[in-house]
């Protein structure tokens, strides 16, 4: 099943239980949203999730990898630059090539760009200061493994917290990204309009998150793990993880059906 394919399938359901998907949450020195991501996956959603140390070279047995926010390796050189050369990111690359789901949040998005798993770059915010606040996002695609539980064009609220979140890419790259429909989240106002005020960091085309061509690697600046429980002010982020879980279960079911 390709990541972009519909979750609904006309194949016969096997009826047999498939193992729960296993999530890896990578811990770089300097990660600081690693514990938050694990909390949401394991304690809030009840998924199987574990930390994976940055020196790990093998992701066998995992179905999805989360690269969390923070300041990996102190963000020396450029945000995400050192992490992109780490053993675990080499493993993430192989994992993604094999079709595994990878989501990079905030610093994790920066790592994916530095590693070349996604096109473009994230540079210093317009205004040059760190910004931590709630923003509105428009879900541009609801047919990815990360967004199937959102409605296309739906406006959601998520927090951002970054100093280097301004998406930038050469014009031809930007055009290609748009043409292929790789933009998944865009900064908008509450009514879904891409007004200049709704763009918190000056990102080109208001890009807040995008997928690779294959659709199995997502990077986004907003923090879905910070809005997965209503007590924290909103739970629009929760469906991102739930979409991943559902997609992985579906894939496992189909694979099991095929091999039997």
């Amino acid at each position: 099943m390709s990541p972009g394919a519909s979750l609904e399938s006309d194949r016969p359901r096997s009826g047999l239980p498939t193992p729960d998907p296993r999530f890896a949450v990578v811990v770089f020195p300097g990660s600081n949203c690693d514990r938050d991501c694990l909390h949401v996956l394991r304690d809030v959603l009840g998924y199987r999730a574990e930390f994976v140390w940055h020196e790990e070279e093998d992701l066998a047995g995992f179905d999805a990898v989360v690269l969390p926010g923070g300041f990996s390796y102190g963000d020396y050189l450029r945000p995400g630059a050192v992490a992109a050369t780490s053993p675990v990111v080499r493993a993430v690359r192989r994992f993604a090539e094999a079709g595994g789901l990878v989501v990079g949040i905030c610093n994790g998005f920066q790592v994916l760009l530095e590693a070349g798993l996604l096109p473009g770059a994230l540079v210093r915010n317009r205004g040059a200061t760190f910004r931590c606040e709630w923003v509105h996002l428009r879900v541009e695609r609801a047919d990815t493994p990360f967004t199937a539980l959102y409605a296309p064009g739906e406006v959601v609220r998520m927090p951002i917290a970054h100093g280097d979140g301004r998406y930038h890419a050469p014009r031809e790259v930007l055009e290609e990204v748009e043409q292929r429909g790789q933009v998944v989240f865009r900064y908008v106002d509450r009514d879904g309009r891409t007004t200049p005020e709704a763009n918190p960091n000056g990102s080109l085309h208001h890009i807040a998150g995008l997928v690779n061509r294959e659709g199995n690697v997502l990077g986004l600046m907003p923090h879905p793990e910070r809005c997965s429980e209503s007590v924290l002010g909103g739970q629009d982020g929760r469906r991102l993880f739930e979409s991943m879980d559902r997609w992985l279960r579906e894939r496992a079911r189909l694979t099991a059906g095929r091999t039997r």
Binding site: P29, N32, Y73, F130, C132, E229, V231
Partner: protein, 733 residues
Amino acid sequence: MTAVTQIPEWEAAGLRREEYERVCALLGRRPNPTELRMFGVMWSEHCAYKHSRPYLKRLPAAGPGVLRGPGENAGVVEVAPGLAAALKVESHNHPSAVDPFHGAATGVGGILRDVLSMGARPVALLDSLRFGPPEDPQSRRLRDGVVAGISHYGNSVGVPVVGGEVLYEDCYGANPLVNVACVGLLPASRVLGSAAAGPGNPVVYAGARTGRDGIGGAAFASEQLEETSAESDRSAVQIGDPFAGKLLIEATLEALETGAVVALQDMGAAGITCAAAEMSARGGVGMVLHLDRVPRRERGMTPVEVLLSESQERMLLVVQRGREEEVLRAYRRWGLHAEVVGQVTADPVLRVYDGDALVVELPPSALTDAPTYRVPEEEPQTRRALREVDLSGLPVPDPVQALLRLLQSPSVVSKRPIYTQYDHMVQLRTVLPPGGDAAVLRLLEAPPRGIALSVDGSGRISYLDPWAGGAAAVCEATLNVACVGARPVAITDGLNLGNPERPEVAWELAGVVEGIAEACRVLQVPVVGGNVSLYNESERGAVYPTPVVVCLGVMEDVTRAVPTGFAAAGDVVALVGSDRVSLGGSEYLRVVHGKVAGAPVRPDLALHRRLLDVLARAAEEGLLRSSHDLSEGGLAVALAEACVAGGIGVRCTLSREFFGARADLSLFGEGPSRVLVSVPPERYEAFAELCGRCRVPVRLLGYVGGDQLRLRLPDGEVIVPVAELRSAWEAYR
């Protein structure tokens, strides 16, 4: 040729002649040059609290749930069965004046490690800042640098800055105040301390390497700043590395998981000297240190430099003998340096070796038992006169214009442009974010319980009446915590004053401490630790005596947390608490009339205690839709803020009886123990009954609704659209 005057060796080390003589008497000999330098920093005001210790004894430290009180790196109090919170506030005023970015950043790093030293994971930071007026580019530069420094360090280590305050006065122009507080959480059964124990136990150095930075920083912080300080004292300011700080937190918590750590302390002011001396003295033991085993960043460092370096991100630990490898492994896994640099000895002597040479040999208690001083206290005549200034003849301005000017006052305006530069959400605990009366954090370890945090200082009131100022700071911090629905359980205080050798400052110090002490006694809230920063003084004069109080409160259910803003049309708006107000020391008097004068209201502490109880109970019973304490700008500003925060208007009538003689006094007068609440109409009777039962005055003012602030006065009406209030309040400069 200019003549060179020989400075006596004790003076070069920062000691007075009589202090030097006392050192000789304690040792029974003259200290060698290395030892003398150690005494110089350890007996500095910054490390030894020479002028403040006698006063601080008056603060009530005991209370139910207090697990560690003053004298440790942070206080510890139980916040849920089996769960404890460590809290501490600290100043970084002098370094921030010289280098605002690094000064403030290292202040954050230091306070994080104080809390870490108790075995706690830091979960929240708060900052209390004072600068000169923002019209002055130099003040803006200092403020922006300090905010950037806090943002840089706090964001990188992943500890949210959940609250704070920023105020502006001329007196802070040359001496900004940067107080940062930290709260951490730990299992109540695993509270650690800094008392070394167990002769033969290894002493472990962990963290970043030692360099030449910050040498003599503690002594520098104990002097007045000179105009040339920005250049000449830069070497006394340490440079922090938040990445190393983050690794140190994670590695230390991992090391503590082994159960092999006996005691630990941050190497902060006076570096390894202070850590070794305090840990030994507290445990009544001695220590041997081998300086050649200390990881170093630079070659050729002398023993004095290693002993006094204030390089950041370093901890000293005492570890169970035979288990040192487990602890070293935790630090090295995180890429940090960790070495056994010595061991605990039974005889209470600190011995320091440089190679084979014994360079220091003295009782650790000699270093920690600095003399204390009592300066005769004297209230200056001018201060009394200022307090007695007759304000009754002041012209009463147009209330709308005055309100808009107050909302635009830099001390009143929205601090959103500041707190959005801080990550205030990381760690997923923040239920009520910055911008309200107090922050609320959920306790993931004990749901649905939570803690509330607020930091409040009182410079102007303390200047006019130190006792009132000390008490007011406690009242405001506790009230903010109660406004969101929590019960105050502990405070930590930071005192910022001028040169304590002057009788005027001694008088201020005595009054402020007595005010805090009396308030805490009546409110039954213990002071579990604190900080004193003196010599905040330059050629331009001293800062206002500025007590800063951080209050920690506990609430049973975070989903009952009460926000600041009005929420629903038709809700009843009421004023709860004291009716006593004054223009003395008010923001209104300063902003509109350009005066700092008059007598502030002294709090009625018994009433305040009842008010705290009413608010917590009302929140627990779900009676309140919003609550907001009255502070700078009085009733009118509180109403405006509640409208703006909720995006909805209000319609109130102020009766002639309530209104009194002067419109400005009723609208903008300030006094402690006053809260604006909104209550769903069907719950108002229950709320008023609760107030009556608890003997807390409550006065119905009006109703939430519309898109204007409408105040019907006995002789006219104030009408301002909420949008206009908002644009005034958001005029951040």
